[in-house]
């Protein structure tokens, strides 16, 4: 997306030329203000050429010497050869139970109902929801686990589809966070800080790289409709202190995928084009008086808005997807706004050059009725997750697309509330949980990290949220310590003052 004119100031010679042109008063008069927008078009084209020059040409080389022969952008990005051109982050809001899906703990079977030993808990803080329980009876998963694929990764019966894909997944069983409640934990996971105010992952990437598509936002958010569950907040895809144009744009199912995208009813694109033509002329008269380049910069945004009015409905229209694709994602995918439909749309957006697609699926907060809740959640998501990976793979996109799946924390091994043979609840657990990644730059069919027999503590290769962020940025060609933004006198970064790239998962 375009930016405030001032921010366009570039070190790139080509861009500087265009910037000068933009400043000139003859900009508007020489431009057809219908769809044409020559100057703007060329500006964006230049940015595009520039943005894609290294990515297209490098062909994912494995040495950094090649990188040096390409222009870095105004922020000096990429810092190294990126593996991931784009990212899709499937956020499972609420905290899915690692113990019932990925982190198989056979020894727990024999410990049904026993109190969680203090030696395991080690004084770790609990939420105010279960801290006062008089005991902490351990609840082994009631679901059957099996090993899958060449990698032999364990997965439970809840995941029949994703389990088939384990050889493409890099499963991290040793995730850790500092936060034990939803709001701070999800804010931490998405922005690197537990309190509101910091930019989200996608907005950092937007800030770092700009757009590969002149008609669509860089960073798009999709939320499964009608889920309820733990709340979401726009700050999770917000720009924090970064310029507003780096915020995630929520695409909604329904008539107006982007807020206010639709013209007044029956006033179509041709009508709007004509209106903008007049608006351009009116503004150029104003420019004659004031000579303010902001007038041109704003008109450029009207052009972009106009193009979005065409491109967004196009990209969100799934009607020309073939049946076999719908079948792959599952029946739900035919209904806009479902998780499956969003996964499919994510793929389409990525295809169109959107850099970061952030999905949210609520409902993973199984304090009670954990088995039943998980069944339902996985019915809504499992097939689509597997399909997305397959789909990206069959299009040759998986190798430069990073897919991330996970929530804000895991669940406790002990039952919150009563434990029975068929039912249990699980409280929030920050000290160990599972996420998986697939695609660009991560080892396929790999399992990283290990938890103890209780799935409570990480005993090997812990991955803290900051490390996860550092790694994510690394895969995108960014040194997390160098992508900074100065705000209130301080250089901020996604990883605050922490974070180590998790080398063990890099392919």
């Amino acid at each position: 997306m375009c930016q405030k004119h001032e921010n366009l100031k570039s070190n790139n010679k080509d861009l500087q030329e265009i910037e000068k042109k933009l400043d000139r008063r003859n900009f508007l008069t020489q431009t057809s203000l219908g769809l044409g927008a020559i100057a703007l078009g060329s500006l964006l084209k230049a940015e595009k050429t520039f943005a894609t020059s290294y990515t297209e040409a490098i062909g994912w080389p494995d040495n950094d010497s090649l990188l040096k022969s390409y222009n870095k952008n105004r922020l000096g990005l990429p810092h190294h050869v990126p593996k991931a051109k784009r990212v899709v982050y499937l956020f499972q809001s609420g905290g899915p139970s690692q113990l019932d899906m990925w982190d198989y703990k056979p020894k727990l079977k024999g410990m049904f109902g026993q109190d969680l030993p203090d030696s395991v808990r080690q004084g770790q803080r609990l939420t105010a929801m279960s801290a006062e329980q008089s005991n902490f009876p351990m609840a082994p998963s009631i679901f059957n686990f099996k090993q899958y694929g060449k990698s032999g990764a364990w997965a439970s019966e809840l995941l029949p589809h994703t389990a088939e894909m384990v050889d493409d997944l890099c499963i991290v069983k040793s995730m850790q966070t500092d936060q034990i409640n939803h709001d701070p934990a999800i804010t931490f996971m998405q922005t690197g800080n537990q309190l509101p105010g910091r930019p989200s992952i996608g907005s950092w990437l937007s800030y770092g790289f700009g757009s590969d598509n002149e008609n669509l936002p860089t960073f798009i958010t999709l939320i499964t409709k009608n889920m309820g569950g733990q709340p979401l907040y726009s700050r999770l895809w917000g720009n924090g202190f970064l310029p507003t144009e780096h915020q995630g744009i929520q695409f909604r199912s329904g008539k107006d995928p982007v807020l206010y995208l639709s013209n007044p009813e029956n006033y179509d694109g041709h009508d709007r084009k004509k209106m903008l033509h007049y608006l351009g002329q009116l503004n150029s008269l104003q420019y004659d008086t004031y000579g303010d380049p902001e007038i041109n910069a704003r008109m450029a945004q009207y052009e972009m808005a106009f193009r979005m009015q065409t491109s967004v409905p196009e990209v969100t229209d799934m009607s020309d997807e073939p049946d076999y694709i719908f079948d792959m994602y599952g029946e739900d995918s035919r209904e806009p706004g479902t998780y499956a439909a969003n996964c499919m749309m994510a793929r389409k957006l990525l295809e169109k050059g959107v850099r970061f697609v952030q999905l949210y699926h609520q409902g993973w907060d199984q304090h009670i009725g954990c088995p039943g809740g998980l069944k339902r959640q996985n019915q809504l998501t499992d097939q689509a997750n597997a399909a997305l990976i397959r789909d990206l793979k069959q299009r040759g996109m998986l190798e430069d697309t990073l897919v991330i799946w996970g929530g804000e924390f895991g669940r406790t091994v002990y039952s919150q509330g009563e434990l029975t043979q068929t039912n249990y609840g699980r409280d929030h657990h920050p000290k160990a949980f599972t996420m998986w990644m697939a695609g660009a730059g991560v080892k396929p069919g790999h399992i990283h990290g290990q938890t103890d027999d209780f799935g409570y503590n990480v005993i090997k290769d812990p991955v803290h949220v900051h490390d996860f962020h550092a790694t994510l940025l690394h895969l995108c060609g960014v040194d997390h310590e160098r992508l900074t933004f100065k705000h209130q006198g301080r250089r901020y970064r996604l990883t605050d003052v922490h974070g180590k790239v998790v080398k063990g998962i890099l392919s």
Binding site: C2, K4, H5, E6, R125, T127, A128, M129, S130, E132, Q133, S134, N135, N181, H182, D183, P196, G197, I223, P231, Y233, S234, R235, P243, T244, E245, D256, L259, Y260, L261, N263, P264, N266, D271, M275, Y278, L279, L282, N283, L285, Q286, Y290, G291, D292, E294, I295, R298, Q301, Y302, A305, H367, I368, Q416, G417, E418, H428, D479, E481, T484, R490
Partner: protein, 1074 residues
């Protein structure tokens, strides 16, 4: 790399220093930069920004992060011998060779070079040259400009005297002259009036305003407009809007479900304060410490809501203290950023990296705000968090005074009767009538008795009232019946409770008593015995309970814990492993004195922790919880205990009645005594017993008291509350929190302020009031500068200090330092007069200049820092909307009141489970500042234009330009509707030219130019033709929004006009304030 001796240059410029540095070689590029340096290098202007930005991270004020023992922020530290390197110095003034710093910054050896490669910080050649020259010149340090008290500067002389309207112009022109720049001529009258109207009121001028001003040729025509606008209540609204960003004003709590709470009375007070132009120092005093003033008025207390506007968390599982400490920190940070223009928040986890603010300083400031009896987790039902203040209307106030008086009278009457009746009681005792009492019967008003006989959980007085075992989320639980005190009893597991359904519903005006027998295991120290709550903290303990707390007993009645409650704790511990009998009695008075705990018939001494219950203790939910025994949802129960003989009375039992139910044999022994054997205490008990049970007049008086109390309590329920500051009687102890972690206590600290700014004088109160006075003390170098700078920024678009929020070492230097000081001193001397300050600014010639610009000027001063032209800026999101509402005549100018819900796309609030229900009628057209502000989903009509989400103090908005903004202005129903109304109103004009000129002026504030008119006529014709032939295309233009046109025949014309109006609305002339 080839190196040249720096010698020749030094010889030329600084002969005196030649011997000290003649052997140092500078790298080529540094040498080149060196040669381009000005003669004088200023520490504050050029050197410190480099040191701060590139060196302080390891060699600055943060003690804990100092590397190699070197700190460069103070000369005595920078010039000291290097730690572990005798005879070596980082900086040896005037001696480059002996200054390690110089070698380090010039080196490219990764082992030696500074900044270290890992820091990813780099010095440019220019910066290296500056540091070299500064050291060569003697490394003079100067105090940070912002920490020195402003001094009245002399007014600079300027050549263009005719361009001086007031002293502001002297400062601006003087700089323009040194830059060889010319100021612009005055702006066109129409343009100027629009600029002035938006800047002062946030609203456009009306056609009439424009006409009056344009036709007023008197010399003070402009000043008249200034005075008119400053006197307008809309000026106060615009000032309040600015304050809403600073004070992080929002209509919702911010975290998780992010629910609504009404704090609009505070916002309305702010409007009132600006309207009355109360001095800015007083404005700060009231907000920080109105509650601590002598006999504070309601308004003074209301002003302190300022400190409570931070986000608050309703999430069920959170750790209370974690968020409570966050709230205190937020209050501290607002003072830092909003008033001092400092990023003090950086010192929360460690000493400030750049500014002389230690972590200790931070927690000393924090301690001013740490004495609020509040909770980190607020009630899930959105009851107003505590402490709060009731906001009755005048009528309610009168009524309450009346009812309170009535209750007082009834209470006195009852006491009086009790006294007079005690004569009868004495007789009754004397004639030993008490001997007729039977020990086996229960006192009167017994409504429930659960004794577990035959394992029954039901009320044995009324078996249809059934008890049930329950547990969190597990509906089917079985009681464990064991041997009880007499017969069977119930053993508890700590997680399940006995729910007595609707037994035990008591309001705070009702007297009641609850008794229980129990046996508690040795190891159990905490757990609830009985209660009438939903959960524990989720609803802030609404209801009542008796609980074991660290082996003592805690009795509580709460509306919202911790402040709107009665909490008392026994002074002694309870016995374990043996049967005891506990009775809690309450007299309906809402006072701690009326809440008693008895152990085995003996009243326990208690410490009263809170005695401030002023709203009811029931839930206004469809399913009111009843009395529950032994555990609670998400709380700790009394696992391993056995309970028996639960009794519920609808009266306050007297001491003897408590003995009667707890120790029948003791009661028997008393009533068996002859009158002369009775002890004095027994006599008293019998006396009370008589009055309570046998005195008809006393019964009557009690009934009347109960009745009036009920009216009192019920009529209070509807009175709104607002969060305010209230100091705890005993201040909470404050500690430095390691890494800012809520539970990692370090050294204890006391209220104080950073010495580096201004030492806290002994004469001031060591509380918030003292802090407020310190802020506005004449010796405080920051508060006035920061305030005038913010107001300057509001008007000119950029502050004199561009970083409005940061006057510290990392902030930008002022463009006109002396002007800033002049304004600050003028502000203080005017009595902190905000209106006056605005008048001075807008009366300056600088402000009144035209904003037009040339390519050349843009090249010289793109950001308009020299102010050779007037300010121009995109209207804020609020102003843009106000503009079209005002232009179309839709604007509802009501001031204040609850926030409103104008048009908003459906479903936006769904992400956190809420529904946005649009208002109807004229509420749709209120000024933008009254649009409901939900922090987690801010209203897009404004948020798209950079309105901050108001989770934190914000003193400078971003200024962005995005396609989403274009979409709002083109398609948001607010804008479509306004376009239609404007288009409809055009029908009144006989010809298109007049109509278009009129609408153009309404929207842009200026007369249309011929070329513009020609263009728009063409547009209108084109659209009209289209709509005539394709009427269906008018649909959206005619039917978006509530307002409907009555003249259906003119559909095509109205639609065409609407497109025309919309085009003007989207044009620069409307969007930008010029």
């Amino acid at each position: 790399m080839s190196r040249k001796p720096v010698f020749p240059l030094i010889v030329i410029s600084f002969l005196g220093l030649m011997f000290s540095c003649n052997e140092l070689e500078l790298p080529d590029l540094v040498q080149q930069a060196y040669e381009e340096l000005p003669r004088e290098v200023d520490f504050n202007q050029e050197i410190k920004p480099i040191l701060s930005d590139k060196c302080f991270i390891c060699h600055g004020p943060d003690q804990a992060k100092v590397k190699a023992g070197l700190q460069l922020h103070l000369p005595e530290l920078a010039f000291a011998e290097l730690e572990g390197s005798p005879g070596k110095f980082a900086i040896k003034p005037g001696n480059l060779n002996k200054s390690q710093l110089v070698h380090r910054i010039l080196s490219d050896d990764p082992e030696i070079m500074m900044p270290e490669p890992e820091s990813h910080l780099k010095l440019s050649n220019h910066e290296k040259a500056l540091l070299v020259k500064w050291i060569n010149d003697g490394a003079e340090y100067k105090e940070h400009w912002a920490f020195t008290v402003p001094q009245t500067p002399p007014l600079p002389h300027v050549k263009l005297k005719e361009k001086v309207a007031n002293p502001i112009d002297n400062f601006i022109l003087a700089k323009l002259e040194t830059e060889s720049l010319q100021p612009n001529p005055k702006a066109d009258k129409e343009i100027l009036l629009r600029r002035l109207s938006f800047d002062l009121t946030g609203l456009p001028p009306s056609l009439k305003d424009i006409e009056v001003f344009v036709n007023d040729n008197s010399p003070d025509a402009y000043e008249k407009q200034v005075d008119r606008l400053l006197a307008s209540p809309h000026f106060a609204e615009q000032m309040a809007l600015d304050w809403m960003d600073l004070s992080r004003y929002a209509d919702t709590h911010g975290y998780t479900v992010d629910r609504y709470r009404d704090v609009s009375p505070y916002r309305d007070w702010v409007i009132k304060a600006f309207n009355e132009n109360i001095p800015y120092d007083q404005f700060i005093h009231w907000q920080l410490a109105g509650d601590l003033m002598n006999n504070p008025s309601k308004e003074q207390i209301l002003a302190t809501t300022f400190n409570r506007l931070h986000p608050q968390n309703q999430e069920g599982g959170i750790i209370d203290e974690e968020f409570r400490s966050e709230y205190v920190a937020d209050r501290t940070n607002v003072v830092g950023e909003g008033f001092l223009g400092l990023t003090v928040a950086c010192a929360k986890c460690h000493d400030h990296k750049y500014d002389p603010i230690s972590q200790k300083n931070y927690y000393e400031m924090y301690s001013f705000f740490n004495n609020v009896n509040e909770s980190g987790q607020i009630s899930f039902d959105s009851s107003m968090p505590v402490p709060n203040m009731l906001l009755p209307t005048d009528e309610q106030e009168k009524f309450m005074t009346y009812v309170n008086g009535l209750v007082e009278n009834k209470k006195k009457a009852a006491e009086h009767i009790a006294k007079s009746e005690s004569k009868r009681a004495e007789q009754w005792v004397e004639i030993e009538n008490y001997q007729k009492l039977k020990s086996k019967t229960w006192p009167s008003h017994l409504i429930a008795k659960v004794d577990f006989i035959n394992g029954s959980l039901n009320n044995s007085l009324n078996p249809s009232e059934k008890g049930k075992m329950k547990r969190q989320h597990s509906p089917i639980q079985f009681p464990k019946i064991v041997e009880g005190y007499s017969g069977e009893g119930l053993e508890l597991d700590g997680d399940s409770w006995l729910d007595l359904d609707h037994i035990g519903f008591f309001k705070r005006n009702q007297s009641f008593s609850i008794a229980i027998r129990l046996k508690v295991p040795e190891a159990l120290e905490n757990g609830v015995i009985f209660h009438k709550n939903i959960g524990t903290r989720l609803y802030s303990y609404r209801g009542y309970h008796l609980a074991l707390k660290e082996n003592k007993l805690e009795a509580m009645l709460a509306h919202v814990w911790p402040d709107n409650a009665i909490v008392e704790v026994s002074t002694t511990e309870i016995p374990k492993n043996e049967w005891m009998q506990l009775t809690m009695t309450y007299d309906g008075s809402s006072k701690a004195k009326g809440l008693k705990i008895y152990l085995d018939g003996e009243e326990l001494k208690t410490n009263v922790q809170v005695d401030n219950l002023y709203k009811d203790i029931i839930y206004k939910m469809p399913s009111e919880p009843g009395l529950q025994i032994g555990a609670r949802w998400r709380g700790k129960g009394i696992g391993g205990s056995v309970v028996d003989d639960i009794l519920v009375f609808t009266k306050e039992l007297t001491a003897l009645e408590v003995v009667q139910i707890s120790k029948a044999e003791k009661f028997q022994s008393i009533i068996n005594k002859s009158a002369n054997e009775l002890t004095q205490a027994e006599n008293k008990m019998l006396n009370e017993y008589y009055v309570s049970n046998f005195s008809k007049p006393y019964q009557l008086a009690l009934n009347e008291l109960a009745y009036t109390r009920r009216i009192q309590v019920d009529s209070l329920e509807g009175i709104p509350e607002i969060m305010v500051m209230k100091e705890m009687e005993e201040p909470r102890q404050t500690f430095i929190l390691k890494q800012g972690q809520y539970n990692q206590y370090s050294e204890r600290v006391y209220p104080n302020t950073p010495e580096s700014i201004l030492a806290f004088p002994d004469s001031l109160e060591k509380n918030r009031l003292g802090l407020a006075k310190w802020l506005t003390s004449k010796s405080n170098p920051l508060t006035a500068r920061v305030a005038v700078n913010r107001y300057w920024k509001n008007i000119f678009g950029t502050g004199i200090v561009r970083t409005v929020e940061d006057f510290g070492n990392q902030g930008e230097l002022p463009s006109h330092p002396k002007l800033l000081d002049w304004l600050a001193i003028q502000f203080i001397e005017s009595g902190w007069n905000v209106k006056n300050l605005h008048k001075i600014i807008v009366m300056s010639n600088t402000y009144q200049q035209s904003s037009f610009t040339t390519e050349e000027l843009l090249e010289r001063d793109k950001m308009n820092r020299f102010l050779a032209r007037g300010p121009s800026k995109r209207l804020s999101g609020e102003m843009l909307r106000n503009n079209v509402l005002a232009a179309s005549g839709l604007l509802n100018k009501t001031i204040g009141g609850r926030s409103v819900k104008p048009y908003q796309p459906e479903g936006l609030w769904k992400i956190n489970g809420a529904t946005y229900k649009e208002d109807k009628g004229d509420k749709l057209y209120r000024r933008s500042m009254y649009t409901i502000w939900k922090r987690s989903v801010p209203h897009p009509t404004m948020a798209t234009f950079d309105t901050p989400d108001r989770s934190f103090c914000s003193v400078r908005r971003q200024e962005t330009n995005t396609p989403l903004q274009a979409l709002v202005l083109m398609n948001d129903p607010t804008y479509i509707e306004a376009s239609r109304v404007l288009g409809y109103n055009m029908l009144k004009f006989p010809d298109a030219k007049a109509a278009i000129s009129d609408v153009f002026k309404r929207v842009t504030g200026r007369s249309i130019k011929k070329e513009e008119l020609d263009l728009l006529i063409e547009l209108q014709k084109h659209e009209y033709k289209k709509f005539r032939s394709m009427e269906y295309k008018t649909e959206g233009w005619l039917n978006t929004g509530e307002f409907r046109i009555s003249d259906r025949d003119s559909k095509a014309l109205v639609a065409a006009n609407a497109v025309l109006a919309s085009t003007i609305i989207n044009s620069d002339a409307a969007i930008t304030k010029r």
